[in-house]
Symmetry: C2
Subunit: 316 residues, 2 copies
């Protein structure tokens, strides 16, 4: 157990060991605030995400290491979604006193692995105790050249609607986890636990003037695309026969009788990039065109008789 | 109840209504990240604090409005503690579906009141549902002139140890709340629920070269001062007879037989500023000298036979 062994300051020291070092001019863990130099010509990007035990994960289903990875990854993905470069994270952890003492260490290993992969420093946070459930909040900072952030409001009629990678893998992985059938596809389960934020792709897309609106897919295209349409005052026709589906997803859907389109559009947590782009732009990364932006503000699903929505926690 | 009435996006729209507007060049709620222009000659300050129902507050004891105020105030105080100007906050809220539907509105009223008082914009966050307890995380951004942030590591032997305001009021308020005796001093209870971050004082102290180390008092001087001593490699002699105690605190301590020194030094949550300062500095704000920094790394409490420590949640 944590409680009899270490106090809050020892816990902070333990977390500090896993903090990816920052640049010499930056001041991280140890003061009331982190201090980060600003520079003309850059914008600061900020986002934050909360993960609650029982809502976002079950302690029995995910290892601390996977949870640490995912907590950082979903935040880093928000910076990628704006075409930015992730710089630093701030980790708040509320932990029950009954956690095994190795928990923090393993959590931080996963957190460090994904942070190091993208050279993201851990510059601060908060540690406190929770009466029962684990509660995690990560705030992330990034940068992009002034005025170049890719917003949801920038889609134009005639744009292609595009996505990176494949859709629905994470949702299929979650279905396997919830039905206690992880062995059916460790690969899809891994996609759910350890998403890979599209940082390099986001930076390249961020530098393309023909890339207009962009966001990451956290709730599913069926939900996320609606934000772009609403903010941009446009509509879209999506060809549900052109969705990028992994061979693994198609195989498990055949085996289990699941609808791959449903998983790809309503599932969420793929953390792929969803972007709209002028037809003549060449971003130099692999992507799939899944539809087109229209002046008519409707959202039309071609190749399917049903509508697709995404995840909304209060509506479950 | 929230659940049957509104979904997550309606909740975000509701919160958005209370967002203090940002500058025209800043992009707030509605994208994956907020976007804030940088400027040569400034540093960005970042801090984050988490409040968990059952650890930091009991829903029955604090109104949503007080909780909203406090959530923003304790974070704004961290910026003040570095001598910085608070700019923006990011609010993560995990809420049980059983909360009364007015809860968010009242919470946001308190959050907005303290934010408006200090011209702090709400630029983003996260909303999610919690299986039972309310969980709040605020991340705060501020700025200060490059290199001017007041760190914990800057205390020098010979410095005076100083505090703003009075000590122990919040701790006494908490004791009254926990003993179901709020009526004994609404004033002290108010100090606990609605702390006033010392933003103006922090800015003035931040501009004084003779002000060396600084932090805010969240866990109590008995704990917080130790951070300054450790980071600066110095010690201190504190005169426990010189502590600034409000008349209200002295009166309730006489009435209840409480030790005012204990409340002032170990109580915490005063959110006053604790700073060390060259003896010839004149910061132009009211403050009290409570001791002196010494080369000898010990912490000595003059005028008391006991030691004083602060709050540490895992050690409770």
């Amino acid at each position: 157990m944590i409680m009899p062994k270490i106090g809050e300051f020892e816990l902070i020291d333990q977390i500090r060991k896993y903090a990816t070092p920052a640049t010499p001019s930056t001041i991280g863990i140890g003061d009331d605030c982190a201090v980060i130099p600003q520079r003309d010509g850059l914008d600061t990007l900020v986002s934050t995400d909360m993960l609650i035990e029982g809502t976002h994960f079950l302690k029995e289903d995910i290892t601390p290491r996977q949870l640490g990875w995912k907590s950082a990854a979903v935040n880093i993905s928000d910076i990628a979604a704006m075409g930015g470069k992730p710089i630093a994270t701030f980790l708040s952890l509320a932990l029950p006193k009954t956690l095994p003492e190795t928990w923090v260490q393993e959590f931080m290993e996963g957190y460090r692995d994904i942070s190091q992969k993208h050279c993201v420093a851990l510059l601060g946070g908060d540690t406190t105790c929770s009466p029962d459930r684990i509660c995690i909040n990560v705030a992330v900072l990034g940068t992009c050249p002034s005025g170049s952030a890719k917003l949801r409001s920038a889609a134009l009629p005639g744009d292609m609607v595009c996505v990176t990678g494949t859709l629905g893998d994470s949702a299929a992985g979650l279905k396997l986890i919830l039905s206690n059938d992880k062995a059916a596809s460790p690969q899809l389960v891994q996609k759910h636990y350890c998403p890979l934020p599209r940082v390099q792709e986001g930076l390249l897309l961020g530098s393309c003037p023909g890339v207009h609106a962009m966001m990451d897919i956290s709730d599913g295209v069926g939900s996320d695309l609606r934000h772009i349409l609403k903010e941009s005052g446009v509509g879209a026709v999506i060809d549900t026969d052109s969705l990028p589906l992994s061979a693994e997803l198609q195989s498990i859907c055949r085996e289990k009788g699941w609808d791959p389109k449903q998983l790809a559009l309503s599932g969420g947590e793929d953390y792929e990039l969803l972007f709209t782009m002028a037809p003549d732009e060449k971003p130099g990364i692999p992507y799939t065109v899944i539809g087109r932006i229209t002046k008519d503000p409707a959202l039309v699903w071609k190749g399917s008789s049903r509508d697709f929505d995404g995840y909304q926690c209060f509506k479950e």
